[in-house]
Amino acid sequence: MIFFDKVIKKYTDRSVGLNGVTLSIEPNEFVSIVGHSGAGKTTLLKMLLAEDNPTSGKVFFESVDIHALKSKDITKLRRRIGIVFQDFRLLPDKTAYENIAFAMEVAGRPDTEIAADVPHILDLVDLNKKAWNFPHELSGGERQRVAIARAIINQPDLLMADEPTGNLDPSNTYEIVQILKRINDLGTTVILTTHNKGVIDSLGKRVVTMEKGKIIRDDSRGKYVL
């Protein structure tokens, strides 16, 4: 489904984000990417979203070269990928409900569908009581659940979570990981980057370890080893 082909990303000659990464991810996989800060985890995700272009190498999403796409097609591709960030990145002027509805609106879904799906997904992440609260009125865990709801509302083929638990306490972390697992069980490919040893060890799924822009380990049932 996803294939990184000898991807190199150099910011300057000295600052290298990715140094020859070749990686393939199958549909329905749950892949965790671990590594120290600056190992290249986030850069890898950015390549996949076409937020940034590689210096050399190619990234394929279902055999389509992402970086050869036009701006319009990149927009369409992004609608098939759900993303969750460490810092949530909700739209501050929109309520929890509107943040989730926005993702459906941009995909061109009709109002009737939005009115039916959003309450349902809010229920799923246990936030229907906070539907009309703005992000600044929600706790960190609640915000991250809104972000996840937004990421999965369009039933994406791929969910990318970039250190989603980085700003959360252990109980919220556990909850978020459970939600990600459930999403994966329902058939969505999940890529998770994290620092959290506990999260990785409890998952028992594939672990890719990165260091200095390179993949140094790839274990199909991995533990956190650094």
């Binding site: 979203l49 937020e51 701006s71 319009k72 927009t75 369409k76 992004r78 609608r79 990928i81 993303i83 990145r89 909700l90 739209l91 501050p92 002027d93 926005f102 993702a103 609106e105 941009v106 995909a107 061109g108 009709p110 109002d111 937004r150 369009n154």
Partner: protein, 309 residues
């Protein structure tokens, strides 16, 4: 799909305007000032043109005849003058008419009326009022009445008592110069002010959108198309323009009324308030279109910067 998007863009624009109260307020405030500048320039130039016209209209040459001039001679001179290509009109004012005018002008002045009654005969002189087609033609017309000119030689010496042109001319020249200067200087100053206020408006809107810089990035990552992101910001800019235009035209009521009160005695020419009220729709449209264009273009340019990726 398109209508659905347009409806959503309009709705988000309106919601954005309401939710960002402080930002909207300051944008509207700044834009109102810009629109006041544009409106004032329009009103000012109309006002100055009208004043200049009415002052120019007041220029004429008054030829006063001697008390015992014969009426036929005077009307003959009137006819001769009317033949001139430069002369627009020549009005003959007889002694009697001059007396009626004089009485009317001094009707509240008992003493003068009393003094007039004491006199046995009408002390006023008959005259010709000559109007030229354009102000610069008066010099050549006035030259006819210079001593020893060909026209005058046909009449008795002393037939013409006084030509009242030089005196008026001086005052009128000075007025024309002042108005001209004010207009030229005014145009430069108001254009500078308009430019400054437009730039300030643009910057205010740019700052308002700068705050949303990260939001725009998130929208992109969620898969929003460029139009869908840009749309609500442009609608917000348009709303700034509409609200500011309404505030501006409302403010012009007391402004023109005050100007009218202070200037109506100065120049009889134009009532700015009346002009404003009777041309309201036209002025409102110009201000409204300026406001909408200013808001929409500012928003468009400001968002474009963050949409490049």
């Amino acid at each position: 799909m398109i209508f659905q998007n347009i409806r959503r863009i309009l709705r988000w624009g309106a919601i954005g305007f309401m939710r960002n109260g402080t930002v909207s307020f300051s944008s509207v405030l700044v834009m109102t000032i810009a629109l006041l500048m544009i409106g004032s320039t329009m009103l000012m130039s109309t006002f100055l043109h009208a004043t200049l016209d009415s002052v120019e209209d007041k220029i004429d040459i008054n030829v006063y005849f001697s008390v015992d001039a014969v009426e036929e001679d005077m009307t003959e001179l009137q006819r001769n003058l009317e033949y001139l290509a430069t002369v627009e009109s020549v009005t003959y004012v007889s002694k009697e008419e001059a007396l009626v005018e004089f009485k009317a002008r001094h009707e509240n002045d008992e003493l003068t009326i009393q003094a007039l009654k004491e006199l046995d005969e009408n002390p006023l002189r008959a005259r010709l009022n000559i109007k030229a087609f354009s102000p610069e033609q008066y010099d050549s017309i006035a030259a006819i009445f210079n001593e020893g000119s060909a026209t005058l030689q046909e009449y008795d010496t002393g037939f013409i008592d006084k030509v009242n042109y030089r005196d008026n001319r001086l005052v009128i020249d000075r007025m024309t110069n002042i108005i001209d200067g004010v207009e030229k200087g005014g145009v430069v100053i108001t254009f500078a002010l308009i430019l400054i206020s437009v730039l300030i408006t643009f910057n205010t809107i740019r700052l308002a959108i700068y705050i949303s810089k990260e939001e725009i990035g998130v929208m992109r990552l969620v898969g929003a198309g460029k139009h869908y992101i840009r749309g609500p910001f442009i609608i917000e800019g348009v709303i700034y323009g509409v609200v500011s235009a309404i505030i501006t035209v409302v403010l012009f009521y007391p402004i023109t009324l005050t100007i009218k009160k202070h200037t109506e005695e100065l120049f009889g020419g134009i009532d700015l308030f009346k002009y404003y009220v009777s041309n309201f729709m036209e002025i409102f449209l110009i201000i409204l279109v300026s406001g909408i264009a200013l808001g929409a273009v500012s928003s468009f340019l400001a968002v474009r910067k963050y949409l490049k990726k």
